[in-house]
Amino acid sequence: MTDLEFMKASELAPMIEKKEVSPVELTERFLHRIDKLNPKLNAYLTTLETNALEQARSAEEEIMNGRYKGPLHGIPIGIKDNYKTKGIRTTGGAKIFDEYTPDVNATTVNNLEEAGGINLGKLNMNPLGAGSSGNNLDYGVSPNPWNTNHLPGGSSSGSATALASGLAVLTTGTDTWGSNRIPAAMSGVYGLKPTHGLVSTHGLLPTAWSLDTSGPFARSVSDIALMLNVMAGFDPKDPQSLNIDIPDYTKTLNKDIKGLKIGVPRYYLEGLAPDIETLFGKARKTLEDLGAEVREIDIPELSMSSFAGQVTATGEAAAYNYSMMQEDAGQYPQDVRVLLSAGTVSSTSQYLKAQQARRKLADAFQRAFEEVDVLLGPTLPITTPEIAKDETKQNLQVIQRGLPFTVPANLTGVPSLAVPMGLSSDGMPAGMQFIGSHLSEEKLMQVGSAWENTNPISVGYAEIEGSHIPDE
């Protein structure tokens, strides 16, 4: 068997169910790869060898005894390090939490483990989710496997790196202002920012409460759907959790998109790097060829999203970290401290003005979704940058460039699915996002899988430079 490490969960699951693939052997293969590649890729901050093998043995025993739980049973998964894990250190990517060991699991970790997922370890990230570059001044960057001189994107940097380099089948991420979608774009994988309240945030280390979401990361839309089936659902421990029926998100995969109305906000066409403009133009044409009706629309309220996103995120993050900043601000990495400081000195009236802008933007989105089924835009206006020396400056720059494109979905609570769009002229991935109305994840799976079937990056993950195991 070859390239098991790069297979989708939807491909592995039937093999595991038929006992053609052993969860123990699969987990051992991933642990071997992590052992070899993680010193270079720094995707995992904590590897859970003993724990993972124990879970794998248990999964194998259950399957051998006819108790197959479903498509995630025996699948190795990486968990972003801001999800609390019982008895396992949870750093949030920051040294101030270096020795923090929670006594509970995040609800979604429980969901994934109860579905039979194998927890391989805890994944690198921008400290405390406060960034978009993927830099980590505390534990070091997890470089982009496509070219290790480039940023992976953040904050869920390790989640994307692990997928692109075959260090996990699935990973989790969180998205406050683009943290799932930006690394998905820069690293050529798929990431979902779900409807606010669809997936529990109980047991996450918060970045900004009113914007935070927890979501799936994968190398395909079908795997995003499988993960969402397990991660979504009402959680009484999360006051923002929606008590609704959860559909089977795999049902709309591979349905055609003939007649689907896709709106491209003109705001998303401003200031694009030439490569992004070219790739996005081609993508629009491809979607039209698939039968979708693609047209440009105006949503002027989007111009308020950077202000609303920046003020809301830094204000709420500053509130959460207030006493720790007073105690010893020096314990935070500089880029995080700068963001928290800006939030600390922002005014309450600015914060409330941001919430007024959010309502206007939410109203504008609602009007837009009366005209079109989904919105489409690039995930980022820039190509994937090389890692710069001044990581603080770079993180702030990537945030400012990404914010207008990604934060509108967080401000309004709507879902957004990030997909690879193609490769820029330097061979690095670029991405785009489908944005839907509240609880339209099924539609996003439909349009996302139709797009995926066009093979947008046309390179196998196993061909990526950073995914090769160094010589023994």
């Binding site: 006051p239 959790s241 308020m304 202000f307 920046q310 400081s341 919430q355 007024q356 702030l396």
Partner: protein
Amino acid sequence: MPVKKFVKSGLKLHGVKVKRSDVPYIKGMLLAVKQMEKPLENFPDINEKTPLTTIDKGVFKHD
């Protein structure tokens, strides 16, 4: 008040020790936010909007 001074005194007021090397970055961020705020002028009715709030299930018992 010059932004640099505002940053230093603002953080001091909140009991947060200021690192001198951070000040240019914080200043840059605050100036960027002021720029980002400008488009709000195109929406003169914004004050008629109630700030976005949520009905928190923990306190709202009659749904």
